[in-house]
């Protein structure tokens, strides 16, 4: 039989690069593990939702289930798109494997949701510990004013305060900000020792990091701390020297040193075509496929969402990002979070060099929400 | 008879599917004054617009000094010596009076604008105003002056007196007569006030339903009240 997997993601438009990484991760997994599970052929059907658009996402999810007859739904770069599909799952008897969307609450919307990416709480909270360790006392947070930004700010602020640090100011700026000079001026005026920032990966990060340098914050010794979205590998060549030395916490770096990752990166680079375009969503997709393959194995190709999801609860494996497991309770991935520094590799390319590890991090976000 | 300067043969034209002119032919010798008359909506404006290249020509030929115009865009026709003063005036509303005149200059020296101001002193007073701010009569003056600045050899005037004060009308008609008499210009005129047209012209063409219905001299037309009544709907001419 052929088992179909429907993947929804941004394959065109402003976030096309993230969708491309989904595909690269999936292709890499299938290249390495074959496109068969038992006797079943695996077929992937892609559907494009260029920007967060829950209505479109739901319509496509429905179409995938009803018309294409997919047994699994996967992908989802944006939270609302994933949320929109969750009401379908039970009736459709289809599990949903979230490969990126990073708001904690998604897994609570349906018992059939499993997530193999990360949450912003997960990647941002450790940064507060780093800051504390490095002797930072006063921090100003700067985040994009939308769900993930607010999450990231909350995660950092809560943790940093718990560690005894002081948040001198919290700035939320519109997603469409192009010129960050006034923000940097605020940062300067706030008297903070460090700035914690979250912006979605993409063009604005470039302006942000440049403004940080050009306005003399770097020279003034104000540390820039951020979750890894800001230094997505595909943006690093554009950021260039200006990002050197930036500290970020994240679940995955392309440069992660492990045999599993070497194999993955090689396969994924081949799949994506231009090696410079590879970045973190690919690993979420890769592990998502791993989870789906496990589900198919466990159900023997039968359509049984409950059984499939049950089969992966507690499952642990060695991912390209390091050791991971699916938390049986939340169905979210437990993983290492790494502290990384932007550095120049021997071949002259820019990498996120891992310099410390926070092991087996769950999602503090769900706990915080309760 | 001198060689025709403007020669129109078998001209048919219209708008999209609407045919307005059918098989119109006439010739105008250099330095003469032709009045084109006809009732409301017979196609006088369409005829001039077609000659000037603004309305679609279905078939027929238009020759200026022996040169075929029909394939040319309107700018080339203008550069071959055709001047057109449209009924709708077509002032450039966002240009000043002076700039409107500059456009009409073609490649002549800027100083030539003075000629227009000599003709219509009113325009000089208003030279910095935008076209859209002019009074109706001022627009009419500007439209005429603008075209004349380009020194056309054949001038198409579509109701150039509309909206002008009687004194100005007289002066203007006198000026046109002078231009034509000097042999500098051949003038084709559409005018609602039949008497003014007949006083001015040396030849008359009457259109009816898109076709030439009558042609002759003003004297002949005045002498034929029946035709005047039939084609122009006017009682008698004084």
């Amino acid at each position: 039989d052929t088992i179909k997997i429907g993947v929804i993601g941004p394959f065109s438009g402003p976030f096309a690069i993230q969708g491309k990484n989904f595909k690269a991760g999936i292709d890499a997994y299938m290249a390495l593990n074959g496109n068969k599970v038992g006797d079943n052929d695996i077929e992937i059907i892609y559907r494009d939702v260029p920007q967060a658009d829950p209505a479109q996402s739901k319509a496509l999810g429905q179409e995938l289930v009803v018309k294409e007859g997919v047994q699994y739904l996967a992908g989802f770069y944006f939270t609302p798109d994933a949320m929109a599909v969750t009401p379908l799952l039970e009736q459709a008897n289809v599990p949903l494997v979230v490969m990126n969307a990073a708001t904690s609450a998604i897994v609570t919307k349906s018992p059939y949701v499993v997530r193999t990416s990360f949450t912003l709480w997960q990647t941002s909270a450790p940064m507060a510990k780093v800051a504390k360790e490095r002797g930072v006392k006063k921090v100003i947070t700067v985040v994009s004013d939308y769900g993930p930004g607010v999450d990231s700010e909350a995660a950092f602020t809560t943790t940093f305060k718990a560690e005894g640090g002081e948040i001198v100011d919290s700035i939320r700026m519109p997603l469409s900000t192009n010129d960050f000079s006034p923000i940097m001026q605020r940062v300067k005026d706030s008297g903070a020792d460090a700035v914690f920032a979250f912006l979605p990966s993409g063009p604005t990060t470039l302006g942000f990091v440049k403004a940080y340098n050009d306005n003399g914050l770097k020279d003034a010794g104000i540390q820039l701390l951020a979750p890894g979205d800001l230094t997505q590998e595909s943006d690093l060549p554009a950021l260039g020297d200006s990002a050197l030395g930036m500290l970020t916490t994240f679940h995955y770096a392309i440069s992660h040193d492990s045999p599993e990752n070497k194999i993955f990166v090689e396969a994924a680079r081949k799949a994506i075509g231009n090696p410079a375009e590879l970045s973190f969503p690919s690993v979420g997709a890769y592990d998502g496929m791993h989870v789906i393959y496990k589900m198919i194995e466990a159900t023997g190709g039968e359509q049984d969402a409950q059984k499939a999801v049950d089969a992966v609860k507690g499952m642990a494996w060695e991912s390209p990002r390091g050791p991971v497991s699916i938390d049986p309770e939340t169905r979210h991935i437990t993983q290492n979070i790494y502290l990384r520094e932007v550095a120049k590799a021997e071949d002259g390319s820019y990498i996120n060099k891992e310099i410390a590890t926070f092991e087996k991090q769950g999602d503090p976000g769900l706990a915080a929400a309760k | 008879m001198p060689a025709a300067q403007l020669e129109v043969a078998n001209l048919s034209a219209g708008y999209g599917q609407t045919r307005v002119l059918e098989n119109v032919s006439f010739a105008v010798p250099a330095g003469s004054r032709l009045a084109v008359l006809g009732r409301n909506g017979v196609g006088k404006t369409t005829l001039f617009a077609t000659i000037a290249g603004q309305t679609r020509l279905y078939n027929g030929t238009i020759r200026l000094d022996g040169k075929e115009l029909s394939g040319l865009e309107s700018a080339s026709r203008a550069r071959s010596g055709l001047g057109y003063v449209p009924q709708a005036r077509c002032i450039f509303p966002s240009l000043t009076v002076e700039e409107n005149l500059l456009v009409g200059l073609k490649d002549r020296e800027r100083t030539a604008i003075a000629e227009a101001y000599d003709m219509f002193p009113r325009l000089q007073e208003r030279r910095r105003n935008f076209g859209s701010q002019l009074s109706g009569g001022e627009q009419q003056m500007l439209s005429t002056a603008r075209t004349i600045l380009g020194k056309p050899t054949v001038l198409l005037l579509d109701e150039p007196l509309e909206g002008l004060a009687p004194v100005i009308c007289e002066e203007l008609m006198a000026a046109f007569s002078k231009l034509a008499a000097a042999g500098d210009m051949t003038i084709l005129l559409v005018e609602q006030r039949i008497q003014s047209a007949l006083d001015f012209a040396d030849h008359v063409l009457v259109l009816e339903r898109g076709q030439v219905a009558w042609s002759g001299t003003p004297v002949e037309l005045s002498a034929d009240p029946a035709t005047v009544e039939r084609l122009l709907g006017v009682g008698g001419l004084h």
């Binding site: 063009p203 302006g207 | 000037a52 456009v103």
Partner: protein, 287 residues
């Protein structure tokens, strides 16, 4: 006080960058009366060519700019000839449809050819890094952008308001048929103006690339910004566009400094206020 100066400087710099990028649109939209949503697409093409010329062919910044402007104009010639020429004088909405179609195509092609990553245009050493103004430091490339803005504004104003070409262009736009009958070769006038506008777009795209980085979605991402700036100034008015850029730059910058969380609010409320007070744009002529 120092903060005021400092924010003021940022505002000026940001406004000027906006000006350089969007002024080409003021030419197409205000003077040629084409609602050209593809303006960003041309800016982006310029950016890509410059980036390619600098990275792959190893040209310097100045040469890259020249190549990019020339290259973009070259690319635009068939587009003007076969597509734009069909929409001169057409209803605005038809123009919207056509130019958005062009934008979609350009985005798709850029994505296919260059991939979805950011492209940079390496600055020469002179423009790199901060310059100390005494009370603060500012990026050198911003100073460069300010200078470019001033030069472009002056040159354009002269071309449009003071030369015979400018008069012919404005006449053709007001009434192409009549301009033709007065001997103006409207096609050539349009083609040249369109080339100027495209060249300006490309130039702006390159000079502004530090703030608005080049990537395939560029063409749509900043479309609204361009539209707003040009219309608030009064389309077709060069001083108007300049003023609008400075005013909006100032509002945006102070807004983001004082109340960043309401930055967008601030900006668009200001736009609404300005438009309500000046329905034809700040320096727009009444039509």
């Amino acid at each position: 006080m120092q903060t005021v100066f400092s924010v003021g400087t940022d505002a000026l710099a940001y406004g000027m960058v906006l000006f350089v990028i969007s002024i080409g649109l003021s030419v197409t939209m205000g003077l040629m009366r084409v609602v050209n949503l593809a303006h960003g697409a041309f800016a982006m093409i310029g950016g890509y060519i410059a980036s390619y010329a600098a990275h792959m062919l190893g040209f310097g910044y100045a040469v890259a700019i020249l190549l990019a402007v020339a290259g973009t104009i070259l690319i635009s010639i068939p587009i003007e000839r076969f597509l734009f020429r069909r929409i001169y004088g057409a209803p605005e909405l038809t123009q919207v449809l056509m130019t958005i179609g062009i934008t979609f195509c350009v985005i798709g092609i850029a994505n296919y050819v260059f991939g979805p990553t950011l492209k940079t245009i390496p600055l020469p050493d002179m423009l790199r890094g901060p310059v100390d103004l005494g009370y603060r430091s500012i990026a050198a490339h911003k100073l460069f952008a300010i200078a470019c803005g001033v030069v472009v504004a002056g040159a354009l104003w002269f071309l449009i308001d003071r030369t015979a070409f400018g008069v012919k262009l404005r006449a053709s736009v007001d009434n192409a048929a009549m301009a033709g009958s007065l001997g103006v070769r409207t096609r050539i006038v349009y083609a040249v103006s369109s080339a100027v506008a495209v060249g300006l777009a490309a130039f702006g795209g390159i000079v502004g690339a530090e703030l608005l980085p080049i990537e395939p979605y560029y063409a749509l991402r900043y479309m609204v910004t361009f539209l707003v700036v040009v219309s608030v100034g009064g389309a077709g008015s060069i001083p108007g566009a300049l003023l609008a850029c400075l005013v909006l730059g100032a509002i945006d910058t102070t807004g983001r400094y004082l109340v960043p969380e309401y930055g967008e609010f601030f900006f668009y409320l200001a736009v609404i206020t300005i438009v309500c007070l000046f329905p034809n744009g700040l320096l727009g002529r009444k039509r």
